[in-house]
């Protein structure tokens, strides 16, 4: 019996001990649609770092709804860097867990957002419901798929894009609220993350239109068969800036600050910008952007600072408990 226990313990230890072969391991906690982007980027960075510092680096990834991922970092998930969907989620980490300074967004160029995107519509082939712009989403009989703004960063961009489109056309706050309320009245499935919504629309075949990140829309067309879906770009949309940040306290504890910092700075090289463009994210480098001009349709873009006065205010007005989203979205009570 004793021998059996000893053999068993040895086996368990052998299982536990396996792994760890790189000089440095980083953990990047990211949001939902960046899975393919960071697969490419991590390879590029590993090559760059090996050449520069003669160290092998492995970047581990964790993906999920942006708000949920921020919550995990607050609760102790050891992220060296966070690359989330919106600044507010990183603000939360700074405020609640004090893992990085409150002015983190000023530490890297372009509001710490090395790539941008916008919000577009994905519709079924031939656009049977004739969806062209935000108003069309509110029409009776149109079934809309978008994730839950309480947990998903992409969903919050979707929500604010719809809201802002009314304001930018000269409409009032009340008109904006009315349009958004009618759009959410048409929502068939409210997933917790952007990728879940994409799967609902594309794989499970539910809904007439998916409100999605531009990159996510292009990716699903590429992955799941061109010719099955069409991308519709609205006349007006929001400039989505997904930021990246070093999590100082974690990186310092693990002694990875130098690599983690270099990892984020690598985003601002032409090579990395090219990777962003290839994965359908809009590059911020003007030269790279010029090379890919044709792939990204010109959209009239407004920023969150212009229309909503920044993320802190937008979050409070729209997504906090009792905010406009809670007022308009009451499932089962139409």
């Amino acid at each position: 019996m004793l021998r059996l226990i000893r053999a068993f313990t040895a086996l368990v230890l052998a299982f536990a001990a396996a792994s760890s072969q790189a000089d440095v391991t980083l953990l990047n906690v990211s949001y939902d649609p960046t899975r393919e982007l960071y697969q490419d980027f991590n390879k590029s960075f590993a090559k760059y770092w090996e050449g520069k510092a003669k160290e092998t680096v492995v970047v581990k990834q964790s993906h999920g709804g942006s708000g949920k991922q921020a919550r995990s970092v607050i609760d102790g998930l050891d992220a060296d860097v966070v690359t989330l969907a919106l600044a507010y989620d990183i603000d939360e980490i700074a405020e609640r867990a004090k893992l990085l300074p409150a002015d983190w967004q000023k530490r890297l160029p372009h509001n710490s957002s090395p790539y941008t995107s916008t919000i577009v519509f994905l519709v079924r082939k031939g656009n049977p419901k004739g969806i062209r712009d935000w108003d069309d989403l509110a029409k009776p009989g149109v079934s809309v798929i978008t994730p839950n703004p309480k947990t998903s960063g992409g969903a919050r961009w979707n929500y604010l894009a719809a809201w802002g489109s009314v304001l930018k056309k000269g409409g009032s706050e009340a008109q904006a609220k009315d349009l958004v309320a009618r759009i959410y009245g048409n929502v068939a499935v409210l997933d917790s993350g952007a990728r879940g919504s994409t799967t609902t629309f594309v794989e499970r075949g539910i809904g007439d239109v998916l409100i999605a990140w531009e990159n996510e829309a292009y990716l699903s067309v590429k992955e799941l068969g061109p010719g099955k879906f069409e991308i519709v770009t609205p006349s007006l949309s929001i400039l989505a800036e997904p930021p990246v940040a070093l999590v100082d306290k974690v990186a310092d504890r693990k002694g990875t600050r130098k690599v983690a910092q270099a990892y984020l700075e690598h985003w601002y090289t032409p090579e990395a910008q090219e990777i962003a463009a290839r994965n359908f994210y809009r590059p911020i480098d003007p030269q790279v952007a010029a090379r890919h001009e044709k792939e990204f349709p010109k959209v009239n873009l407004f920023t969150i600072d212009q229309v909503f006065g920044g993320w802190q205010r937008a979050q409070k007005t729209h997504f906090a408990d009792g905010g406009t989203f809670d007022q308009i979205f009451q499932p089962g009570r139409k």
């Binding site: 299982f15 939902d32 867990a97």
Partner: protein, 286 residues
């Protein structure tokens, strides 16, 4: 003995003939139900897994992240099952063979993981061991990681699987009564002898049955583990979580390939369970 058994059979037979259509209909309904809800999905898992050929299947299963997930799943089960085995035997022995105050409270507590949603079981650990939780900051100061690491996954697995063995043993031990133990004590057996020579041999098949169920759930658990995992691929992903990730990354063949591994585990469990049941049936007849 045989004559005694024959008597009730001959009484039942004519009645069964009168309602001959009923068993056929019942079997038909059961088969249709099973086909719809069990065989079809099971077939779909293997069909989808192999749709792109054996090469893709083998590649998905041999992938480094998949291996890490398999290893972690086996590790969690390898710790959770023995831990619950010890706990289950101790709890069942105490409840079935001894009287003590608070016995009904203990029985209720054992059932707790069955009545609590797995997501809540996961959140409990986040609240207790998370960085903003009760012990999280103190543990972090000493460099101990519980949630978003292997210990958290093992804890969550133990929590959701701990009723299986105890629940299996308690009714069995209660049904067997205390006479044999009392006789053993009168003959001078100590507690250790009592457990090894009298109680355990009587329940060994029930115990094995509980272990098999416990193991199946430990390897398949999704909800509680998902909450405490952090979803770091290659580090804190168990096999069920890995399947979800692959599915979300449009790698459907890979997702179903890994799902087929879990399905095979389920089938093996089913075969073992049937075998154990037949042994139990034979032992009770003898």
């Amino acid at each position: 003995m045989a004559a005694v058994l024959d008597l009730p059979m001959s009484v039942v037979r004519p009645r069964a003939r009168r309602v001959a259509g009923v068993p056929v209909a019942l079997v038909g309904i059961a088969l249709a139900y099973l086909t719809l809800f069990l065989f079809l999905p099971l077939f779909a898992v293997f069909f989808e897994a192999l749709r792109k050929g054996w090469g893709v299947y083998a590649a998905a299963v041999a992938d480094a992240d998949a291996w890490a997930a398999i290893r972690l799943t086996l590790l969690a089960a390898a710790i959770a099952v023995p831990a619950n085995l010890v706990f289950g035997v101790a709890a069942a022995w105490a409840i079935a063979k001894f009287d003590f105050p608070g016995k009904s409270v203990l029985i209720t507590l054992i059932d707790l993981p069955f009545s609590v949603s797995p997501v809540v079981s996961g959140l409990i650990y986040v609240l207790v061991f998370g960085l903003q939780g009760w012990f999280g900051p103190a543990l972090a100061d000493h460099g101990v990681k519980v949630i978003f690491a292997v210990p958290g996954i093992v804890l969550a697995t133990i929590f959701v699987t701990f009723p299986f063995i105890a629940r299996e043993l308690i009714p069995l031990m209660q049904a067997q009564g205390r006479e044999e133990e009392e006789a053993a004590v009168l003959l001078g057996a100590n507690a250790w002898h009592l457990l090894w020579r009298v109680t355990l041999p009587n329940v060994k098949w029930g115990l094995l049955y509980g272990v098999i169920l416990c193991n199946a759930r430990a390897m398949g658990e999704f909800g509680a583990v998902s909450v405490v995992s952090g979803h770091v691929r290659g580090l804190t992903n168990t096999l069920p979580l890995h399947i979800e990730i692959l599915y979300n990354e449009y790698q459907f063949a890979g997702a179903f390939a890994c799902a087929s591994l879990l399905a095979i585990l389920a089938l093996v469990t089913l075969v073992l369970k049937t075998w154990v049941e037949s042994r139990v049936a034979r032992e009770t007849v003898i």
